[in-house]
């Protein structure tokens, strides 16, 4: 069956050399690093939907958390002469020889969510610095001036610093101008909610509760922050940020105890990747794709064509986005919410 398909495809390709490429009957392959993690199922469903909607064929392999298996998987996909390989790399260095082999065979590659540094590939991911920026923006909208607390992630995780960079891009000027005061700033061991709670309690103690906004770098820590604020009766009146789109956090947003959760919607990323793969398969040059930018913030600083998606901002007003996307049920999102206080909850 597979052989027959491959033969047919090969035939089609040979014909295609003479006739202009059609949007139909291309094969898009995805090499997953592992299906052990629940989240990739969401991505896969979105990619598959986008690919088949365009009349193309979706194939996939699962490297089962092994760099060697992934290299063999890609080798097999090259033999099958698929049109585009979307790769979630298990090891972003070990994958490079496979990428070169694909390039030599004239197959286009995409780095999905995990970057590998090969200039011929397209890198598609959420804009991580943007997450920090978005959090800060939403908090600043609610509290343009006052005392800010910054609950940063684990000091050993580059993402924590990365996020903080984005946050400071937005708030830096206001801090310099003296409108915003940096009252507490602390890393949180292991991104742990209970540590965030302790840090927040200490922050409130040392400032005598004079805190107007808390920029917490994720939703888990935001739960600790809100618990600390609640003990002082300040929950709901202090702006609190977070990210991940945790179900509990979305509920806090509905309840008004958290201002914003930045949500990286896997469906959105998968859909976009599927659409781009279709376009690449049809022969659109990677650097001519709509919205493509140059990205060189990787480990080695290799410049790559990339698509950086803007994550979704979930606030009281945009709550329905997460519900409509099927990320959370209305029941869960609106648990305990007073009727009429939030539009999406009715």
């Amino acid at each position: 069956m597979l052989k027959a398909t491959v033969a047919a495809l090969t035939g089609a390709l040979l014909l295609g050399a003479a006739v202009p490429a059609l949007a139909k009957d291309k094969t898009i392959a995805v090499s997953w690093k592992t299906f052990q993690e629940e989240r990739w199922k969401t991505d896969e469903a979105a990619i598959k939907a986008a690919v088949t909607a365009a009349g193309n064929k979706y194939v996939s392999t699962d490297a089962q958390g092994s760099a060697e298996k992934q290299a063999k998987d890609i080798e097999g996909l090259i033999t099958q002469k698929v049109d585009v390989i979307v790769i979630v790399a298990y090891d972003s260095d070990a994958i490079l020889p496979s990428i070169k082999a694909a390039r030599d065979a004239g197959i286009k590659t995409m780095a999905y969510d995990v970057q590998f540094e090969d200039p011929s590939a397209l890198y598609i991911t959420f804009d991580n610095i943007g997450v920090g920026r978005l959090m800060a923006k939403e908090v600043q909208k609610v509290k343009p001036a006052g005392n800010y607390a910054f609950i940063k992630g684990d000091k050993g995780d580059p993402n924590a610093t990365f996020l903080f960079k984005g946050i400071m891009e937005v708030l830096g000027d206001a801090i310099k101008a003296g409108k915003i005061k940096n009252s507490c700033e602390t890393f949180t061991d292991g991104w742990k909610p209970d540590n965030a709670q302790k840090n927040m309690e200490q922050c409130l103690t040392s400032t005598g509760n004079k805190i107007d906004a808390v920029v917490s770098e994720n939703d888990g820590m935001a739960s600790g922050v809100v618990a600390a604020l609640k003990a002082q009766g300040m929950d709901g009146s202090v702006a609190v940020s977070g990210q991940d789109g945790d179900l509990a956090a979305i509920n806090r947003v509905a309840l008004g105890t958290q201002t914003v959760s930045i949500w990286k919607d896997a469906t959105q990323l998968g859909k976009k990747a599927g659409e781009l793969a279709n376009m690449i398969a049809d022969g659109t040059a990677i650097d001519k794709l709509p919205g493509v930018t140059k990205f060189n913030l990787g480990k080695k600083g290799v410049e790559m064509n990339s698509i950086l998606l803007e994550p979704t901002t979930i606030t009281k007003d945009t709550l329905d986005v997460a519900i409509k996307a099927g990320h959370i049920t209305k029941e869960k999102a609106c648990a305990g919410v007073k009727a009429g206080s939030v539009k999406a909850c009715g």
């Binding site: 890393f187 949180t188 061991d189 909610p193 209970d194 888990g220 739960s223 509920n251």
Partner: protein, 441 residues
């Protein structure tokens, strides 16, 4: 230096210093005094460092000390069991992961099972949840104990495995999601909500009860020794112990009562219970927080178990000489199994406190707690060689560690320096203890 060796000889007894005579008469553990001294020193240092740095010292404020007690309670509960585990020459590396998985089980039960089934806010939810948590703790801990005692696998390995397994299980149950919010009554166990502390009156009543118990204990202790014509403590020493015990108790009551709710919450409370609000504002004392009371109860119960029951006697005997205990006819395997089961229950109690305090259960809850629990226990004078250790010491150790961490956070130290300080204090404390033991022998 040379003097101290000479004091052992007979004539020196007459010129025995006032301090030595005092310690001998009151039978106060000098190591305990050292710990308390260290705690006071740390507090005062942080307080004045705060004054120097920001102009106002907050460390010794009732508010900070109250929060400090609440923050210590979860670790403190687990240290009471870890002392006995280490005394028995075992170790339990799994307590943090046990806490995590039990918190997740209880969170799952409340939010996804009991809530929909009984209706959110049903008064039985918190009771069923706690029962589920405690049984899970007893079962998982008992399972570890079984593998250690009957299958003969070293406790280090069994609980190292447990550390990894249960953390994974916690993730698997809720797929990495955070479960929230907890049942409203259950949340009281964390000390956050308005009703989660016993206010001024409750604290005074409790304080007075404790005082009466202290005096009665001293009285009956003396009476029963009199009955057998045993040597007695001098009367002044008994009085001194009574006064100090009551003084500390009532002083603590005074402390927790001088931390007031923020006005907004106080007014909310007044409204809820129809208390008229006076014109110059309503002052509502916090009093003892429920998690602190739970920790105190755990400490009292475990001290009782350790010193007043056969089980506790056997735990110490096994730690002192396992072979002798076996030859004396003690069923050491059973004691080991029960002890690990108790440790599981204590981890479950801590899981209640932690998840209630956070008002959420996440699979990261309790991560690295095993290290803090073991460190607190060792700082508190428990010997890793087994046989020696006290529960009050371990709780003081937990307080020392939490004071360091919270004090440095108040001063806005980077968490890297906090880690360095806590690690150094651990090694330093054990070194001091070694010196003390060598002198004592």
């Amino acid at each position: 230096m040379t003097q101290s060796t000479e004091t052992r000889s007979e004539p020196a007894l007459a010129q025995e210093g006032v301090v030595t005579r005092f310690l001998r008469a009151t039978e106060i553990d000098t190591r305990l005094l050292g710990m308390v001294g260290a705690l006071i020193l740390i507090s005062v240092c942080f307080h004045f460092a705060g004054i120097l740095r920001t102009g106002n010292g907050v460390f010794l404020s009732p508010r900070n000390l109250w929060i400090l007690l609440v923050q210590t309670s979860s670790i403190a509960v687990m240290t009471t069991g870890m002392v006995l585990i280490i005394v028995m020459r075992h170790i339990d590396l799994s307590v943090g992961s046990l806490l995590g998985v039990i918190a997740v089980i209880m969170g799952y039960a409340q939010v996804y099972v009991l809530g929909p089934w009984l209706g959110v806010g049903h008064p039985a939810i918190w009771i069923i949840t706690i029962l589920i948590g405690l049984s899970a703790g007893a079962l998982l801990g008992g399972f570890h104990g079984y593998l250690i005692a009957y299958a003969g696998i070293p406790s280090f390995i069994v609980t190292l495995g447990g550390l990894i397994v249960w953390r994974g299980a916690a993730w698997a149950i809720i797929r990495g999601e955070t479960v929230a919010p907890m049942d409203e009554t259950f949340e009281l166990l964390g000390g956050g909500p308005l009703d989660a502390s016993i206010k001024a009156t409750g604290s005074w009543i409790l304080g007075i009860i404790v005082c009466v118990v202290i005096v009665l204990a001293l009285y009956f202790g003396r009476k029963s020794r009199q009955k057998f014509n045993f040597p007695l403590r001098p009367m002044w020493a008994e009085t001194f112990l009574g006064i100090v015990g009551c003084g500390i108790t009532l002083g603590t009551v005074l402390l927790v009562n001088s931390y007031y709710f923020p006005p907004k919450l106080a007014n909310e409370y007044a409204e809820r219970y129809n208390i008229p609000i006076p014109e110059d504002g309503f002052l509502l004392s916090k009093g003892f927080a429920i998690p602190v009371l739970i920790a105190a109860a755990a400490a009292i119960v475990m001290t009782f178990v350790a010193t007043r029951t056969r089980f506790g006697r056997y735990v110490y005997a096994i730690g002192g000489n396992p072979e002798a205990a076996e030859l004396a006819g003690i069923n050491t395997k059973r004691i080991t199994l029960i002890m690990f089961s108790i440790m599981g229950v204590l981890a479950a109690i801590s899981a209640c406190i932690s998840s209630a305090r956070l008002n959420a259960a996440s699979n990261a809850l309790g991560q690295f707690d095993e290290l803090y629990v073991i460190a607190a226990t060792v700082i508190g004078g428990t010997s890793l060689a087994g046989g020696v250790g006290t529960i009050y010491g371990a709780i003081l150790g937990a307080l020392v560690m939490q004071s360091l961490q919270s004090g440095m956070t108040l001063l806005n130290f980077d968490s890297a320096y906090k880690d360095m300080a806590v690690g150094s204090v651990l090694v330093f404390a054990v070194w001091l203890d070694q010196i003390y033991r060598r002198r004592a022998n």
